[in-house]
């Protein structure tokens, strides 16, 4: 180790280069991006649901970033237009995710706007799709003999009901569903938005 100084300098230079390209330049590009017109801030309940989303680890299987048509057929899957930086203005930290074990969720509130559907699906995903590999979240629900006034009862297919009992959503489940329903970026992308132009020179038009 008689050349410690050059090694340290080289390591610092590599780190500085990476920080420059991955942090400083993107920050300069989109750091001051205003929220898209049509995007609204999350309500307190939706923020509680967002915390649930994070703590339950939804982000490990669900992305929140629909891609351009030349990268993936996300539009045809009904997942919405390619997202732009302005779509995430109120997301801190963003929950874009890296894995797509399940479908993209950035527009799930638009394509599945039914609270009842989401409650059933969270309580027992296999009640909806027998092949689903999504974990069920029974601890977000309560099994009662009778629904009290103000309780939200979860609907289940006839063959999956427990005789004489009802499944009621806890506030955590209601908050999570409120957050899921708030995921709706179907307004048009701002014309000036920075978007991923991907491989547009080969894809796109026939």
């Amino acid at each position: 180790m008689n050349r410690a100084l050059p090694l340290v300098i080289l390591a610092m230079a590599i780190l500085a280069f990476a920080t420059m390209l991955l942090v400083v330049v993107p920050r300069a590009q989109i750091g001051s991006e205003p929220p898209a017109a049509g995007l609204r801030a999350y309500s307190p309940e939706e923020l509680r649901g967002r915390a649930q989303y994070m703590s339950l680890g939804c982000v490990y299987c669900h992305s929140q970033q629909p891609r351009t048509p030349d990268q993936a057929p996300d539009g045809e899957r009904g997942w919405g237009r390619p997202s732009v930086a302005a779509d995430y203005a109120y997301d801190s930290p963003h929950l874009m995710g890296t894995m797509r074990t399940g479908p993209d969720l950035l527009n799930v509130g638009a394509r599945l706007p039914s609270t009842a559907w989401h409650l059933t699906h969270l309580y027992r995903p296999r009640a909806i799709a027998p092949w689903s590999i999504m974990p069920s979240y029974p601890f977000l629900f309560e099994i009662k003999d009778h629904a009290a006034p103000g309780d939200t009862v979860v609907w289940l297919p006839r063959e999956q009901r427990v005789a004489g009992k009802v499944v009621v959503a806890r506030p955590e489940a209601m908050a999570l569903v409120a957050y899921l329903l708030s995921l709706d970026r179907t307004y048009p992308a701002p014309a000036s938005a920075i978007r991923d132009d991907g491989y547009s020179r080969v894809g796109g038009k026939p």
């Binding site: 048509p69 899957r77 009904g78 394509r111 559907w117 132009d197 547009s200 020179r201 796109g204």
Partner: protein, 402 residues
């Protein structure tokens, strides 16, 4: 003292000079060149993407600011003919029509809401459906179109966008089309005597189906929660209003048996029995609602229009309208309306049909056509169909009753 000769104590170990093999240099240089060329090539993606976006924006601007004559050619000439002569016995003429001579309010109202029912023009009786353009043309476009119509076949005079806006505001509560000439006479008596409109009493199953659509079955999920209160659909959720009743009933049956796989519709459809499927079909077939569909897939609208109107012989793709009816309003009993359908659904359904090889009824005509469409074509045609006015709610029973 050992007899062994001593090692040379002055010897310093050294590493023989072994230069890096030349091929390694070549590979490094080749990789660097390859990287540089790739970077150079990809740097044009940004500028071509910008160019493509500008072209799209220009395309949209042209569509929004098209002159009245162009709008007439795009939207009206298919039925009313380029010379406005109409089609005897089917489509009323515009030449010499008293409707165009009347107050401009009348023409604007007809364009906004469409007509459904018998109408007398120039002494001839017509009984068809004029689509409602209120949800697909903006105030400026309707104003330019009406100005063009009145200048060509009416009394002349310009109609301002503000006038159209006021008219739209005045009838914003109206969701159905005008009920034939009888309804239009009340707007302006100058159109002359008009045939009476007879509506059939609502069938008893309608209230049951309505309860199902709004409240779901036994606390289950309601149709309207996703498909909208007026069956207009939303991004990724199909429009149901104006689809043929038998098509809807058949689709529900296909969902319940798994012929048409759907994780969302499957468990819902399995709760429904035969009469409920038929009732829901009738309910949505007779529902009138404005179009909520907008192009959203970056499709090429001109290419979509070509596919819809003419098809593509080279790919052996017939025109959409050859089977789905003029203007894509569907042909009862089982060919669905495709106009004003949500584009993500249309494109996704085309892709699924192409993969699956069978439609709800087990037929292979549409799947074989869908399989020949490229990804860009599916998006183009889906986006084009989203710009069309919605299919008028055709109440077959009302028509039979007349």
């Amino acid at each position: 003292m050992s007899e062994h000769p001593l090692a040379d104590e002055a010897f310093e170990p050294y590493e023989p000079r072994r230069p890096v093999p030349l091929p390694v240099y070549w590979m490094a240089i080749a990789l660097a060149l390859w990287g540089a060329v790739t970077l150079w090539n990809d740097s044009t993606a940004q500028s071509s993407g910008v160019g493509q976006r500008l072209a799209e924006a220009g395309d949209m601007t042209r569509r929004h600011s098209a002159a009245g004559a162009d709008l007439f050619a795009q939207r009206c000439a298919t039925c009313h003919q380029a010379n406005g002569a109409g089609v005897a016995g089917a489509v009323p003429p515009l030449q010499g029509s008293r409707f165009l001579g009347a107050n401009p309010q009348l023409v604007v109202q007809i364009l906004l809401h469409g007509i459904n029912g018998p109408i007398a023009v120039g002494g001839d009786r017509f009984d068809g459906h004029m689509p409602a353009f209120g949800s697909v043309l903006d105030d400026g476009q309707i104003a330019r179109l009406v100005t063009h119509l009145r200048a060509t076949w009416g009394n002349g005079g310009e109609v301002e966008a503000a006038f159209v806006k006021a008219q739209r505001q005045a009838t914003r509560e109206r969701h159905a089309s005008w009920n034939g000439g009888a309804d239009l006479v009340s707007l302006d008596p100058a159109v002359g005597p008009q045939p009476a409109f007879l509506s059939a009493p609502p069938a008893p199953s309608d209230s049951v189906a309505m309860a199902l659509a709004r409240g779901g079955k036994a606390g289950g999920w309601a149709c309207s929660a996703c498909h909208g209160a007026a069956g207009e659909g939303r991004s990724g959720v199909p429009r149901l209003a104006g689809l043929p009743a038998d098509y809807i009933a058949q689709a529900l049956l296909a969902f319940s048996t798994g012929t048409r796989p759907s994780d969302i519709m499957g468990p819902i459809a399995r709760q429904l029995d035969g009469p409920e499927r038929v009732g829901l079909g009738r309910l949505y077939a007779t529902m009138a609602s404005a179009s909520r569909a907008r192009p959203e897939l970056d499709g090429d609208l001109a290419r979509g229009a070509t596919l819809a109107l003419q098809g593509d012989d080279r790919r052996d793709v017939p025109s959409c309208f050859s089977c789905h009816g003029p203007s894509g309003f569907g042909v009862a009993p089982i060919v669905p309306a495709i106009a004003a359908q949500q584009p993500a659904y249309t494109a996704g359904r085309l892709a699924a049909l192409g993969r699956h090889g069978k439609d709800d009824a087990g037929a292979a005509v549409m799947p074989s056509v869908a399989a020949r469409l490229s990804d860009a074509d599916r998006r183009a045609v889906a986006d084009y169909l989203a710009t069309l006015p919605p299919s008028p709610a055709i109440d077959t029973d009302t028509k039979d009753a007349r």
